[in-house]
């Protein structure tokens, strides 16, 4: 059971402020992080996973300040993520992709089969990873992240490329992951998935935190309707 705290995080790219003084808390369960394109969601993921240093602010996991830690150190503390623009290891097979992650955590390679089965892409195991369909590649990134046995899982648009039935299965998987005691953060454009499976939702707009609350609170918020839901 892990709690992530983001305190006053700001990210500037030259003149542009991509994330502006964002403070939020992620409790165990499934948390949605939504907002229109360019709201700063992926940038915030980069900051939390350690791929980008914030211009200001602090990130802590279970009260430990991790702002100055590198991405691999954070991974060893239990932070894992997937990427909006795919980052699979294209020259390796799907199975090898997961094995790399397992070995990095000194877990046995035989778990790879189970993980691929779990996310539903076992049939692609022997294919080279840059040849599988986008939806399957996203699930591969999820399997790879799960291979590190994370306490905090950051998923960046995991359902794009999935059909309706696959999306529902994916929602069930989210519930299971949360039941296992992992904190899951979901950046997602599929509102049914967000409203149906998240316990808590944060809304970003133009780099700022607009509102936080349960799906019902967020759905009723005037600003959210204007900024995002239309």
């Amino acid at each position: 059971m892990s709690t992530l705290r983001v305190k006053g995080v700001t990210v500037r790219f030259g003149e542009v402020t991509a994330v502006d003084d964002v403070t939020l808390t992620v409790e165990p369960g499934v948390t949605g992080l939504i907002g229109p394109n360019g709201a700063g969601k992926t940038t915030l993921f980069d900051v939390i996973s350690g791929l980008r240093r914030p211009s200001a602010g602090q990130v802590s996991l279970d009260e430990e300040d991790i702002t100055s830690k590198g991405p691999h150190q954070r991974s060893r503390m239990g932070v894992a993520r997937t990427f909006q623009r795919l980052e699979v290891f294209g020259s390796l097979t799907v199975w090898e992709n997961v094995v790399v992650a397992l070995e990095s955590r000194r877990r046995p390679a035989r778990l790879a089969g189970e993980l691929l089965e779990r996310v539903g892409i076992a049939k692609f195991a022997d294919d080279q990873a840059d040849t599988v369909p986008t939806g399957a590649a996203r699930l591969l990134e999820l399997a790879r992240a799960l291979a590190t046995d994370p306490v905090l899982l950051l998923l960046d648009e995991p359902s794009s490329g999935l059909d309706r039935a696959e999306t529902e299965e994916f929602g069930e998987l989210l519930r299971q992951l949360s039941a296992e005691g992992r904190s899951v953060v979901l950046v997602e454009h599929n509102m049914d998935l967000v409203m149906g499976y998240c316990d808590h939702v944060h809304v970003l707009n133009l780099g700022r935190l607009l509102v936080s609350g349960t799906p019902d609170v967020v759905r009723a918020h005037e600003g959210v309707r204007e900024a995002y839901l239309g």
Partner: protein, 605 residues
């Protein structure tokens, strides 16, 4: 005080010429995103062309200069852009680098064919003119150089910042598709920048000729200094590039003036550009891990342990038969080819699997050879010590260049190679004052040498394949495809790179030891800086992703000088062909052997 003034002026003049060359480099890079390693070679060929017109054909200097800088060089730039570089737009850094090295080596061949070696003095510009500043004399040529530097700086500034074309050039780099929607033609702009870039390389080359003399390799590699200046400007900023070039010129000039003139310090002076290249890379802001987009490359299939075993046994049998049948001279040549094959195996690991292009791999061969020669022992332990020392040196270079990746890392390997060349391999430290060392042999007869080389090749090949099938191999490839994802999976990307560098250097060092024993006498001339480049090209042409490719590459590298001495008329042409083949084949790192693999799988299907 007057000495200081004189050396300052001299430094500014050299720096001015560097600035002209570096300005062209930055212009082509910033508009086409291709770092032209062959930039210096273009300058070299154009300086020869200038000699041909001004000195050999007796044209007035100004007319020759105008013809070369205004017509010859831009046309040549257009040809290179149209037929080589345009096809590489958006290609990974490794591929553009190899194509650039292909151009470089090819141009050296061209120059050798057209202008066979002989002394070619070039008159300086305005040699009757000159002014006295205080007590120091500034020659007419110096004034011309300074004026050219100022004109080029101003011209480039106006072009990029004050003209529509310049604006469009800058826009094209960021988003060529978008810029084309607004009516600009990215290919035209890229062609223009290559034309101007080549003209500047030519101008810089011609201005430097009275200082450095016309020589194929020296002039080509002189651009390492320009690389350093361009890196000061981070390959984008022209003002910083010019400042860097002038700074370099001054540092070199003051080093001549104020450093002691013992042999060590003389080699140290020559190593200053490479040292500064390292310093610039060290203080550069850390390159962030690149995020976005699947990268994968289709390597040749990794053979299973059984297939590997069968292939090794077959290969062993063939070598034994050859060792029994062929005459000693041929056996020694074959052994040399296999030793080069082992060097190629080190590149399979580093470049084929790890995706790091090394422009300094032959340096580790030199380190291994020197270690074995210095130990003076014929024990197998000496060979292992050679590998060990090379491994330590490899780890050091990786640690020094931890912060950079991609193009900058490749340039760091080149800087390292130059540093080792000037400070160690070409100085008395390595081969003593006589410049050569005797090496005791582990085995004597050429046939035994062949068997030893083959045995080592088989063992290292099996090892490389085992690495590929195992944990380290998966990690190396994962790092190559996505460092960002590796980091978020808990892998320390930088340590993996240190391991890979070190292991690869160890293999090259082992090959160096074998090379030394095979030759019995090794000399500084065996390990010239330039040797690194054909090595890389043959590795890529033959196939840098497989053990079979390494074998073929090694044999080809061994055959090159054999062909050249057998057919002297063909010597330069062979180098041209090598460059052209590499530039053409650089798109497919699986190389020639992959055609064989494809034919084989097609036959079985």
């Amino acid at each position: 005080m007057t000495a200081l003034l004189a050396y300052t002026i001299f430094g500014l003049v050299t720096g001015g010429a560097y600035a002209v060359v570096a300005g062209g480099l930055v212009l082509t890079y910033s508009t086409s995103k291709v770092f032209n390693v062959g930039h210096g070679a273009i300058g070299m060929v154009m300086a020869f062309l200038y000699w041909e017109l001004a000195e050999n054909r007796g044209l007035p200097q100004w007319l020759a200069l105008l013809l070369v800088v205004g017509v010859g060089a831009p046309l040549f730039g257009l040809v290179v852009e149209r037929f080589i570089m345009r096809r590489l737009t958006g290609a990974p850094v490794g591929i553009t680098l190899v194509a650039g090295v292909g151009v470089l080596v090819g141009l050296i061949g061209v120059a050798q064919v057209i202008w066979p070696p002989q002394a070619r003095p070039v008159r300086p510009f305005l040699d009757q003119l000159g002014v006295h500043v205080g007590q120091s004399f500034v020659s007419g040529h110096d004034l011309v150089t300074l004026a050219c530097a100022v004109l080029v700086a101003g011209g480039l500034y106006v072009l990029l910042n004050r003209t529509r074309t310049g604006l469009a050039m800058r826009a094209c780099v960021d988003a060529p598709e978008l810029a084309s929607l607004y009516g600009t033609r990215p290919t035209k702009l890229s062609a223009l920048s290559w034309a101007i870039g080549s003209a500047l390389a030519a101008l810089g080359g011609i201005l430097l000729t009275p200082v450095v003399q016309l020589d194929y390799v020296t002039m080509t590699l002189l651009v390492i200094t320009a690389y350093t200046a361009a890196l000061v400007g981070r390959l984008r900023s022209l003002p910083w590039t010019f400042a860097g070039a002038l700074g370099l010129g001054l540092v070199q000039s003051y080093a001549v003036a104020y450093l002691p003139s013992s042999p060590f310090w003389i080699s140290f002076r020559a190593a200053i550009p490479a040292l500064l290249l390292f310093v610039v890379l060290l203080v550069m802001p850390q390159s962030p891990l690149r995020i976005g987009g699947v990268r994968g490359s289709r390597g040749v299939a990794t053979p299973s342990a059984v297939t590997t075993g069968v292939a090794a046994a077959l290969f062993g049998a063939v070598v034994v038969v050859l060792a029994l049948l062929v005459d000693p001279v041929v056996a020694a040549q074959l052994a040399l080819g296999l030793v080069f094959g082992i060097v190629m195996l080190s590149m399979v690991l580093l470049t084929g699997y790890g995706g790091v292009v090394s422009l300094g791999q032959f340096t580790f061969v030199g380190v291994g050879a020197v270690t074995v020669a210095r130990l003076g022992s014929s024990s197998p332990l000496a060979l292992i010590a050679g590998a060990g020392v090379a491994a330590v040196v490899g780890a050091l270079i990786a640690l020094t260049a931890l912060r950079v990746s991609g193009l900058y890392l490749a340039l760091a390997t080149l800087g390292f190679a130059q540093l080792m060349d000037k400070l160690v391999l070409q100085s008395p430290i390595a081969f003593g004052v006589r410049g050569s060392l005797q090496v005791p042999r582990l085995v004597e007869s050429p046939a035994a040498q062949l068997l030893l080389a083959a045995g080592t090749f088989v063992l290292v090949g099996i090892g490389v394949l085992a690495i590929r099938r195992g944990r380290l191999g998966r990690r190396m490839i994962a790092v190559k495809d996505s460092s960002a994802a590796c980091a978020t999976l808990g892998l320390n990307v930088r340590w993996i790179r240190v391991w890979v560098f070190s292991l690869s250097a160890a293999i090259a060092g082992l090959a160096g030891g074998l090379f030394a024993q095979l030759r019995e006498t090794v000399a500084a001339s065996d390990f010239q800086l330039f040797n690194n480049l054909p090595l890389l090209l043959f590795a890529v042409i033959a196939g840098v992703t497989s053990v079979s490719g390494a074998l073929l590459g090694g044999v080809l590298l061994m055959l090159l000088p054999v062909l050249q001495s057998g057919f002297p008329a063909f010597a330069g042409v062979a180098v041209v062909l090598l460059g052209v083949a590499a530039a053409g084949l650089s798109r497919d790192p699986n190389g020639l052997v992959s055609w064989g693999f494809r034919a084989w799988s097609w036959r079985r299907a």
